[in-house]
Symmetry: none
Subunit: 197 residues, 4 copies
DNA sequence: CATGAATGAGACTTCATTCAT
DNA sequence: TATGAATGAAGTCTCATTCAT
């Protein structure tokens, strides 16, 4: 069975997503992941070196998609709004597609300033840089005012998105297919055009 | 000596801030806090019931100040910009005053969706509500367009601020007295007026 | 292929010698043995019941040769010196022929007072008895003084040899073809004639 | 209670000696040591960093005494026989005083070519060097023939002693106060004067 | 014969918390 | 108040062994 191997590995990783999302990485025991996946304890260690490695892999797997998407968005022709909309859209789609995974990534990696955040800082930084590039382009073209640095703007933009996801995660913002679509537009409009009437 | 007591308690709390900021809450041992404070192991348990309680206290202590400030800002006369500027200003001043504490609050509580985040959700929610109130007021007055919900706008605004702090924490944004001042203005201008020229 | 079977089995056993010698029995994993032998994990268990059994077999295989040799030496005509020289010679030749195997035998069995040492005590005891018999014969013939018991003398003699091997194993004594030959003579001369001038 | 601390630490170390001697280091669980000492599991780790450290300390503690004794013996005036007798005597007395400890040292360290043996090789080597020095002195004085190297002679001498201890440990040689005394004399006589009549 | 995925008991180590002094 | 020894539950990781293919 050629997929038997890959399937179990995937099953463990998927179980890890659910367990990490539910209990948090630190409170999640490896045995929780194993039983969630319906496999024996030791099999987890057959496929992964450590509990940490699972989280690392989960993060990198998803984050590299985000980086690829940001890359493409930036290279494509289009207005700033379209480009920033592409980035926001991808992140929100990622959440829509697998909210647990995005929760884990945000809560355990992106904001975990000490352990995993530090480990993946280069990858994280790259994503911010992509956004900053977009802003910088718009400033060069005169579409954006240049009173704020591109890096600052990138942080504000990304932070706004992440916090909306956090709102959904914590149950502070209403969640629905419509809301997801609205959010994409709203985020960009808020950051680009501002809240002012 | 009536202050001897208070001093030791304070010393432990302050040590906890430094240790939690440096190592993260989970990696920090109670003994680390004790030795950072220069007191004996067991004394921590004389003043606090548990390791968790220290973090809870640290959070609530600071967060209540934020709530108070938001309250006052809202009640005071002034433009939306001034009000939002007041909130952003208070948060950034909090970071300027004690970066370690704000780091701990953001990393370990505000974004920790499972444990402490859940515990303090009511308090956290209250802060978001204050911001939403300000937005709602501006929408009622016609100063803000009402295409986005006040709650959504509040999240975007707060998220932008928090991410700027995160940028400082991670060393992704330049940090200086000037930068702090600029940030206050930039955040409000970005969210209220947008990035567009 | 009747030898295909035997070959794989032998390959595993030989690999075990190298791995046990390199890492020690306890630190050696069955998978280490398998990969050293270039066979699959489970095949080890096709040929052997357990990890222990490999060591047991390794020991018994070699030790029985030593017992046979001691037997023959004892029965043969000759002086005590020649007989003891025969025993010492055989042990040193064993080391010369396969140092890893002798290292494993000495380190993991002969001196392992609790586990394998106990298991193989009867076989080990037999070897000491052969040496004691030789000494006893010499004492009966008046060639050796009888102030020490044959058992005691046997231990001293065997211990001297084993420690010389240990010296080679640990790199404490120089090792070369010449040294091996010298050692054979020196050991016997030292024990029989003493160090005194 | 000023000795309370030291007592518990000692008790654990002493318990470790008994447990390691009985079950062997690898088969001994830390919990076995703790319950043998009558203390809680965790207290072992209050006093020692690891299971290994206990063995290391046990070894070094005793071995340094042996080194000191060898040092003194060598410096003292006296014949070679007296000097070698001093060394053999000290080792045998060590065994008489605490057979379990000597068993552990020999079985788990002195002959454990891989882990602990390697760790303590410098200390072990020093002891052999002391004996070699004595032999060298006797060869220089013409008391000993110089056909064997001092190092070789030292190994043979030390090996003979250690094997006698091994004989006691394994129950292969009779053990009694008288036997201990006899052994001291016999070992030296055997190595110095030889077995020949 | 051969493979290597799957199992699960076992052991070390950590560390929050308690307690005697 | 203050100390730090003492407790023991909990969790990660290892690895011998089994088993389905």
């Amino acid at each position: 069975m050629v997929n038997g191997q890959a399937d179990k590995r995937r099953a463990i990783l998927d179980a890890a997503i659910r367990v990490f999302a539910r209990q948090g990485f630190h409170s999640a025991r490896v045995s929780d992941v194993a039983s969630e996946a319906g496999v024996a304890y030791g099999l987890v260690y057959h496929y992964f070196d450590s509990k940490d490695q699972m989280l690392n892999e989960l993060f990198s797997e998803r984050w590299s998609l985000l980086l690829d998407a940001s890359e493409k968005v930036q290279e494509r022709e289009g207005s700033v709004r379209e480009k920033l909309g592409g980035v926001a859209g991808f992140i929100i789609e990622s959440y829509r597609h697998d909210p647990d995974l995005m929760k884990v990534i945000i809560v355990e990696v992106t904001r975990a300033a000490n352990t995993f955040g530090q480990t993946h800082l280069p990858e994280i930084r790259k994503a911010y840089a992509r956004i900053a590039d977009i802003v910088e382009g718009a400033q060069g073209a005169g579409t954006f005012r240049d009173s704020v640095s591109p890096q600052f703007a990138a942080m504000a933009f990304y932070g706004a998105i992440e916090q909306v996801l956090t709102g959904w995660i914590f149950g502070l913002l209403p969640e629905s297919e419509t809301e997801y679509e609205l959010a994409k537009a709203h985020i960009v409009r808020t950051i680009v055009g501002g809240l002012a009437a």
